[in-house]
């Protein structure tokens, strides 16, 4: 077309749908020019998505920090009633699971299929342990009537360090609301993570991952690390107020 002739040149770099097709990895999606581009896109995509997750949790963290500053003693009293040891155990569990994720990625990079499958399984088991412990904690709260709503009660709970002074139940309810929303959303992300890892496990079992292409493992791993990091912030903020 005359309009375009003078305005630049075309070079046949990659002939799509062409007969003389450059052989490529079957995992290379058609709209990408090269596997590296696809990998980079996937990786950037996951990082960008995690940025949105940071903002999502960020709104909650912000609200939490504001109320904690305003109602510090009541929050301290409420925080004391959640089980710090279970929380710490969960923190350890997640940190270990991040280690197994790192090992899984390494296994994929070095074509160690058995190790990859094993690490994925252990990661998921650790995730289940985490959720199990969370379930135990939630049940404890339910039994103590600390779940916000109609049956919430928080009478005559002493403020740590101030004998004779009792926490304001309404403020304590705010603590528990934020506790359940924050840990609940976190747990939801864990469950989604388990779903992702189930899929990774199936693919790994079938031997689909190679050193040249194991992008899903890498970006799945990124997601898992993120969920882990959110917990590492949640734990001290929620569990460790005013502990000596």
């Amino acid at each position: 077309m005359q309009n375009n002739a003078s305005a630049g040149s075309f070079t046949a770099v990659h002939d799509h749908h062409g007969e003389a097709h450059v052989a490529h990895n079957p995992a290379l999606l058609h709209h990408f020019a090269a596997p590296q581009q696809q990998r980079d896109a996937a990786s950037l995509g996951m990082w960008v998505f995690l940025a949105t997750e940071v903002m999502f949790f960020g709104g909650l963290f912000c609200s939490y920090l504001i109320y904690r500053r305003w109602y510090f003693s009541d929050f301290a009293a409420a925080s004391k009633t959640i089980n710090m040891y279970l929380g710490a155990t969960n923190t350890g569990v997640l940190i270990c699971s991040s280690l197994t994720v790192v090992l899984a990625v390494w296994a994929a990079q070095t074509a160690r299929r058995a190790l990859l499958v094993g690490m994925l399984v252990i990661t998921m088991l650790l995730g289940l342990v985490f959720l199990g412990i969370k379930g135990v904690e939630y049940r404890e709260k339910f039994e103590e009537h600390h779940v916000p709503g109609a049956s919430f009660s928080f009478d005559h709970v002493e403020i740590p360090g101030h004998p004779g002074q009792f926490a304001n139940p309404r403020h304590a309810q705010i603590f528990f609301t934020l506790y359940f929303v924050m840990t609940g959303l976190h747990a939801l992300h864990m469950i989604i993570g388990l779903g992702i890892f189930t899929w990774l496990l199936i693919m790994a079992w079938k031997g689909r991952f190679t050193p040249e292409w194991h992008t899903p493992v890498e970006i799945g791993g990124l997601y898992w690390h993120f969920v882990d990091i959110v917990w590492i912030y949640l734990f001290p903020l929620l569990y460790l107020i005013d502990r000596h």
Binding site: N3, T11, A12, G45, R170, I174
Partner: protein
């Protein structure tokens, strides 16, 4: 230049008969399961047009009610639902997706020289999320709607209203996810899938604008998502985050809400600015004046846009010192927009200007956005804002920007790229008429509202029988609204008409710069026959109009 070209066309079969993304496959499923960004753009086009007319219908009812001071057309609760649903539908289901999801989806891969967006299946998912959110919102409307205002302030929304906030909130939540995924796709595509030779400085400013928009979509939308979660939780379980009776803080709601909703308005205007930049360059036949300044001003708007949210809260009970800071920052964010207006104007200087319909829309945008933006200066002034906030002054201000700005840009873009999208030419005469009608109707609708606002007419008032002196301006406004409605209906009619009866378009009927014009109209499914390699700067109109190319004479 016009459609009647004097340049002999190539001898290959007309584009409409060649295989392109429209005729590659037929059948409903080939559309509903497509991963082609161009088809997804059209899916979005249908959906957002649908919601535009729903929102517009509500607007019409509002203006009809306001013809008379008494509340005599509908009941108070109905009216309150009308302005709420008008706002929610227009903001979340029309304005925020509009340009990015239609023009952005269609053009971003083409403009950067890629075959598709980075994640085509996520693109399709984003449309389905939009539809799911839309269906939920429609259901909410049919089962009574919501009456909190689109801003759903607590504690009214959490503890007092009887309408279905949770459903509306969830609908917005889901639609918000759609917005996030679109932004994610654009950012990754622009970073990773530019064709060889397409450096950042060679990107069309439309891309820069969409990049900035995507940043806002990604970082802002999650905050309203979590706000909605908290509102829903509070409402369903009587918790106490925002309700003071339960220990909460209603002003915290406003902070969380506006932290997203202010940047959201930049999501609505930045893409439009990108469109206008492309149009002005093409129809002046020259490179945009100050390319780098325009590019960076888009980024500046995105960044500063996150720092000004509490200018919606100057009388909400924030401290004087907070108010001072936010007022100052609001002037800072006005500066990049002003810079753009100057650069666009300077582009016209020593240009060779053609008055085709897209350019008329661009001129309309320039006029109306200038007025809207300048009235923002009034609102940022603390002393004035106390008087005019929550009045029709604000309503006029944001409609000047969102309708006079964003929608004009959207329509201009639809006209400009219609040949590329459909392979057909729209009827130019009708298009120019529609542009004129929209411009006149718009000003008649919204200019009187500035006067109403300064006089003190509050917004969201169903009945103003205590202030009958406000009637005449309201009548003028309603008259304008009907004219505006006609202006919006016309393009729908003639675009549809053109799909069957319009003249087939050549690859580049405007002789415009940009990679999208280097492929067929409509493009083949994978956009380019060969991967482009870019060796020229953006807006290379000098080359395009070079003497041996014989600039197309204007057929007037």
């Amino acid at each position: 230049m016009s459609m009647a070209t004097a340049i002999p066309q190539p001898t290959s079969p007309p584009a409409a008969e060649r295989e392109n993304y429209l005729n590659k496959e037929y059948g409903v499923w080939s559309w509903l399961l497509t991963t082609d960004h161009k088809r997804i753009a059209l899916l979005y086009l249908l959906s957002i047009t649908f919601f535009f007319f729903i929102g517009g219908f509500f607007a019409l009812l509002i203006r009809l009610e306001l013809l008379t001071p008494a509340g005599d057309l509908v009941q108070a609760d109905t009216y309150n639902k009308l302005f709420t649903m008008h706002g929610m539908v227009m903001v979340f289901f029309f304005l925020i997706p509009s340009i990015p999801a239609v023009l952005g989806n269609f053009l971003v891969p083409l403009m950067v020289g890629a075959k598709d967006l980075a994640f085509p299946r996520i693109n399709l998912l984003s449309w389905y999320l939009y539809i799911i959110g839309g269906v939920m919102m429609l259901h909410c409307m049919f089962t009574g709607g919501v009456d909190t205002g689109w801003t759903f302030y607590a504690p009214f929304s959490t503890s007092f209203t009887n309408t279905n906030i949770v459903e509306a909130g969830l609908a917005i939540f889901v639609a918000g996810f759609s917005s996030i995924l679109t932004g994610l796709n654009f950012v990754v595509t622009i970073h990773r899938m530019r064709a060889p030779g397409m450096t950042w400085s060679r990107l069309p400013l439309f891309i820069w604008a969409h990049y900035a928009t995507s940043i806002i979509q990604l970082l802002g939308t999650p905050v309203i998502a979590v706000t909605i979660v908290l509102v829903a939780a509070e409402r369903a379980l009587h918790l106490g985050i925002f309700d003071p009776k339960l220990g909460g803080d209603p002003v915290l709601f406003q902070h969380l809400f506006w932290f997203y909703s202010h940047p959201a308005v930049y999501i609505m205007i930045l893409p439009s600015m990108g469109v206008v930049t492309e149009i002005i360059a093409c129809f002046s036949r020259k490179r945009i004046f100050g390319y780098h300044f325009v590019a960076l001003s888009s980024i500046a708007i995105a960044v500063f846009g996150f720092l000004v949210w509490a200018h919606h809260m100057f009388v909400a009970g924030i401290s004087v010192y907070s108010a001072l800071v936010f007022s100052f920052l609001s002037y800072a964010v006005a500066l990049p927009s002003a810079i753009k207006v100057f650069n666009w104007t300077a582009t016209l200087y020593k240009g060779s200007i053609h008055y085709d319909a897209p350019m008329l829309y661009a001129f309309g945008f320039l006029g109306l956005f200038t007025i809207g933006g300048l009235t923002g200066l009034f609102l940022a002034a603390l002393g004035i804002d106390v008087h005019v906030t929550d009045t029709y002054f604000v309503v006029a201000h944001f409609h000047y920007i969102m309708v006079g700005g964003a929608v004009m840009g959207y329509l201009g873009g639809m006209h400009f790229w219609w040949p590329k999208i459909s392979g057909r030419l729209y009827p130019e005469g009708w298009a120019r008429l529609a542009a004129l009608i929209v411009f006149l109707g718009f000003n008649l609708t919204f200019f009187p509202q500035f006067l109403l606002g300064y006089m003190g007419m509050p917004r969201r008032y169903y009945d103003y029988s205590h202030m009958p002196e406000f009637q005449i301006l309201n009548v003028l406004s309603t008259a304008g609204a009907t004219i505006l409605g006609v202006g919006y209906l016309l393009p729908m009619v003639y675009f549809l008409w053109s799909m069957r009866y319009g003249k087939p378009a050549s690859d580049n009927p405007w002789n415009a710069a940009g990679l999208e014009w280097k492929t067929a109209s409509p493009p083949p499914t994978f956009n380019f026959d060969q991967e482009p390699v870019v060796t020229w700067e953006a807006y290379n109109y000098e080359e395009l109009d070079a003497p041996h190319n014989e600039e197309v004479p204007v057929a007037k």
